[in-house]
C-alpha cells in the first residue's frame, strides 16, 4: 500500500498537467532550436515577431475550443463562425449605398457598433450549439458541424460567395494592421488580454475548476450539484464569441470580409489544442497547452514554407504531427503513471 503511494508520488512532485506542459514546452524549445539552425533566415527578429503575430487568431480561437474539450465536448462550428464574423463585421460598417454593386454597400454603422452586432450574431450561433448539444443531447460533433455549415452559409450569402472589400471605414484594418513594435499588432494585444483572462478563469475561479470536473466525470459533477447544462451552454457561447473575435481580427488583417476566411480553422483549433496535450476524453488540459501547440505548429508550418516546400506539405505536417503528438503524450503519461 505504502509502496504504491510512494510510487505515485516518488520523483514526481509535479502534477500530470504540469508535466505535460513542461514536456511540450521542451518539444517547442527543441523544434525552435532546430528550426533556427536548419532554416535560413528563421532566427531573425522580424520572422519571429511575424510568427507571434500569425498565432494571434488561432490562439484566441483555441481558448474556447480548449475549455469545451476539457469538459468533453467538441466545437467544430468555429471555422464557420470565423467566416460569418469576418463577413458580417464588414457588412455592418460598409458605407450605405456608396457603391453601385450590392457587395459594395452595407449598413453604414460605426465600426464599434459593427463589432458589437457581429459578436452578438456569433453568440446566437453559440447559443444554438448549446441548445442542440445540451437540451437535445445531440452528439456535439454532428451538431456543431451543422451550425458550421449554417454560419458559413450566412457568410456566403452575405458576401455572395465572394468578399466585401470596398467602402470599408479606415479603422476597419486597425486591429490587424496597426503595429505597436515590429509586427506586434493590436491583434496580439487582444490575444494577450484574452489569454490572461482565460488563465485566471481556468486556474483561479470555481467556474474554471468545474470545467475539469465535468470533463473528468459528468455524472459525478452533476451529483455534486454542478449545473452541468448551464456550464456547457455558457462555454459554447464563449467559444462562439471568441471565434467571432478571431474572425473580426482576421477580416481586419486582410481588410476584407471574405467568406473563405476561416476554412479549416475548426481543424486547426483542434490540432493545436490536442498538440499541446489537452485530452480529447476531457478532464485534462489547459489553455497554455493550446498556446504551446499553436507555436509548435506555427514554427513547423513556417519552416516548411521557408525551406521552399510546396504549401501542400503543411497538410501533411499537420496530419503527421497530430498523430505523433497524441501517441507520444499517451506513451509518456503511461510510463509516468505506472
Amino acid at each position: 500500500m505504502q509502496s504504491l503511494e510512494k510510487r505515485n508520488t516518488a520523483g514526481s512532485k509535479i502534477s500530470n498537467l504540469t508535466f505535460v506542459n513542461l514536456a511540450m514546452l521542451c518539444v517547442l524549445a527543441v523544434i525552435f532550436i532546430i528550426a533556427s539552425l536548419v532554416v535560413p533566415r528563421f532566427f531573425n527578429i522580424n520572422n519571429i515577431s511575424n510568427l507571434i503575430a500569425q498565432q494571434a487568431e488561432i490562439i484566441i480561437l483555441s481558448i474556447g475550443v480548449t475549455f469545451l474539450l476539457i469538459s468533453g465536448y467538441f466545437d467544430m462550428s468555429v471555422g464557420g463562425i470565423i467566416s460569418m464574423a469576418a463577413v458580417l463585421s464588414a457588412f455592418f460598417c460598409q458605407a450605405q449605398g456608396a457603391a453601385a454593386s450590392d457587395l459594395g454597400s452595407g449598413l453604414g454603422l460605426s465600426y464599434g457598433m459593427a463589432i458589437v452586432l457581429t459578436l452578438i450574431c456569433c453568440m446566437v450561433i453559440g447559443a444554438l450549439n448549446a441548445f442542440l448539444v445540451v437540451k437535445l443531447k445531440v452528439n456535439s460533433v454532428i451538431a456543431t458541424l451543422g451550425t458550421m455549415a449554417l454560419a458559413r452559409g450566412i457568410a456566403m450569402i452575405v458576401a455572395k460567395g465572394a468578399q466585401r472589400i470596398t467602402g470599408l471605414p479606415p479603422e476597419f484594418k486597425a486591429i490587424g494592421q496597426f503595429t505597436i513594435i515590429g509586427t506586434i499588432n493590436l491583434a496580439v494585444v487582444i490575444m494577450l488580454v484574452l489569454l490572461v483572462a482565460a488563465l485566471v478563469i481556468e486556474n483561479m475561479t470555481v467556474f474554471g475548476r468545474r470545467i475539469y470536473l465535468i470533463g473528468a466525470n459528468r455524472v459525478a459533477a452533476h451529483l455534486s450539484g454542478i449545473k452541468v447544462g448551464k456550464q456547457i451552454s455558457l462555454l459554447y457561447v464563449v467559444s462562439a464569441f471568441l471565434a467571432g473575435v478571431a474572425g473580426i481580427v482576421m477580416a481586419s488583417r486582410f481588410n476584407a470580409g471574405n467568406c473563405a476566411l476561416g476554412t479549416g480553422y475548426e481543424f486547426d483549433a483542434l490540432v493545436v489544442t490536442v498538440l499541446g496535450g489537452t485530452s480529447i476524453f476531457g478532464g485534462f488540459g489547459s489553455v497554455t497547452c493550446a498556446v504551446v501547440g499553436a507555436f509548435i505548429l506555427g514554427i513547423l508550418s513556417t519552416s516548411v514554407n521557408m525551406l521552399g516546400f510546396q504549401p501542400s506539405m503543411q497538410m501533411l505536417v499537420k496530419g503527421f504531427v497530430i498523430i505523433t503528438a497524441i501517441l507520444a503524450l499517451r506513451f509518456a503519461l503511461d510510463k509516468r503513471n505506472v
Binding site: L132, L145, L150, G153, Q310, S312, G319, I323
Partner: protein
C-alpha cells in the same frame, strides 16, 4: 414480442417520414419548374449521386457502430488523383481501378488501425488522415494544387456515358454494392455486431464480439467505397482533383442522420440513408434548376442537418413516450 413490435413500428414511422420528406421536396421543385422531373435532369441527379451514395451507405454501417469517419472526402480526393495518374500512365482501366481500390482499402485499414489499435478518438484520427490524404493528393498533382487534366475520352464510360436506361455503369455498380451493404447490415452477424457495439461497446466486448476486428472491417469498407466514389467522380468529371471530395463527409453525415440512423450508434438503416442521399442531391439539383445561386447551398445544408437532428430527437421522444 412487444419490444419487437415496438421496434418495427418505430422503423415504419421512420421509413414513412424520410420518404415523405423526399416526396415533398421533389413535389415542391417540380411545381416550380417542370424541368426538375424530366428525364435528363433525373438521369443527371442519379449520375451525380453515385459518390455520395457509396460513401453515405458505407458510413451508415460505421455510424451504427458508434464511430465516425471524417476522412472520406480526403480519401475521395487522393484516390481521384491516383486513379487519374494511373490512367495517364496508361496502365489500363482494370489495373488502375484495382490499384486505386487497393489504396482505398489500405487507407481504411490505416483509419481502423489508428482508431481501434492506437485508440485515438475517431474524430481526431480521421481528421488527421483527411489532412494527410489531401496533402498527398495535392503533392502528387501538377504544381501542388493543379487539376489533372487531359485524361483519355474513354474515361467517361464508367460514370458518365449511358449504359442502360440512360444511366452509366457506375450507377449499377453502386446499386450492387448498396445491395451488398443492406444484406450485410440486415442479414449478417456483421450488422448485428455493429448494432451491438454502437449500443454498448463494453457489453458487446463481454458477450464475445470481436470489437477490434468488426470496427476495423467497417473502416476498411468505408475506405473501399470512398475509393470507388473517387473513381466515379474522376470518370464523371474526367478530371483528377485532390479536393474534389471536400465537404462530402458533411453531406454523408447529413444523409445518414436524415435517414434516422442514431448518431450515437446502436440503431440505423443503410436503406434509409439512400433516401437521405436522394434528399440532399434533389435539394442541390433543385436549387440549381430553380436558379438559386450556389452560395445558398451551405446554409441550406446546415439547416437541413439541424432540422434533421432536431426532428430525430423529437420523434424519438414521442415514440418512447
Amino acid at each position: 414480442m412487444n419490444l419487437v413490435k415496438k421496434i418495427s413500428w418505430k422503423s415504419t414511422i421512420k421509413n414513412l417520414y424520410v420518404l415523405s420528406v423526399l416526396i415533398l421536396i421533389v413535389a415542391i421543385f417540380s411545381s416550380v419548374s417542370i424541368k426538375f422531373i424530366e428525364g435528363p435532369n433525373i438521369i443527371n441527379i442519379m449520375r451525380q449521386s453515385v459518390p455520395l451514395l457509396l460513401v453515405g451507405t458505407a458510413v451508415t454501417l460505421l455510424m451504427i457502430s458508434g464511430n465516425i469517419d471524417l476522412s472520406v472526402g480526403g480519401i475521395l480526393g487522393l484516390t481521384s488523383v491516383i486513379f487519374s495518374l494511373l490512367v495517364k500512365a496508361q496502365l489500363g482501366y482494370l489495373v488502375s481501378t484495382l490499384l486505386t481500390l487497393a489504396l482505398g482499402i489500405f487507407l481504411g485499414y490505416i483509419n481502423g488501425f489508428l482508431v481501434v489499435r492506437l485508440r485515438i478518438v475517431p474524430v481526431i484520427a480521421t481528421l488527421a488522415t483527411m489532412s494527410l490524404c489531401i496533402g498527398f493528393g495535392k503533392l502528387l498533382s501538377p504544381g501542388g494544387i493543379g487539376l489533372i487534366k487531359g485524361l483519355p475520352d474513354s474515361i467517361i464510360r464508367f460514370a458518365r456515358s449511358p449504359f442502360l436506361l440512360g444511366l452509366p455503369i457506375s450507377f449499377y455498380v453502386t446499386v450492387l454494392i448498396i445491395a451488398v451493404l443492406v444484406v450485410l447490415q440486415k442479414k449478417t452477424v456483421l450488422g448485428k455486431y455493429a448494432v451491438a457495439i454502437g449500443g454498448n461497446k463494453t457489453a458487446a466486448e463481454l458477450s464475445g464480439i470481436n470489437v477490434v476486428k468488426t470496427v476495423w472491417l467497417l473502416y476498411i469498407i468505408v475506405g473501399f467505397c470512398s475509393a470507388l466514389a473517387g473513381i466515379a467522380r474522376t470518370s464523371l468529371l474526367s478530371l483528377g482533383d485532390p479536393v474534389t471530395g471536400s465537404g462530402i463527409e458533411l453531406d454523408a453525415m447529413i444523409a445518414v442522420v436524415l435517414g434516422g440512423t442514431s448518431f450515437s450508434g446502436g440503431d440505423g438503416s443503410v436503406a434509409r440513408t439512400i433516401i437521405g442521399v436522394l434528399i440532399i442531391m434533389c435539394l442541390t439539383a433543385g436549387m440549381q434548376v430553380i436558379g438559386m445561386e450556389p452560395y445558398f447551398q451551405s446554409l441550406v445544408k446546415g439547416l437541413v442537418l439541424i432540422v434533421a437532428v432536431v426532428t430525430d430527437v423529437l420523434v424519438k421522444e414521442r415514440i418512447e413516450d
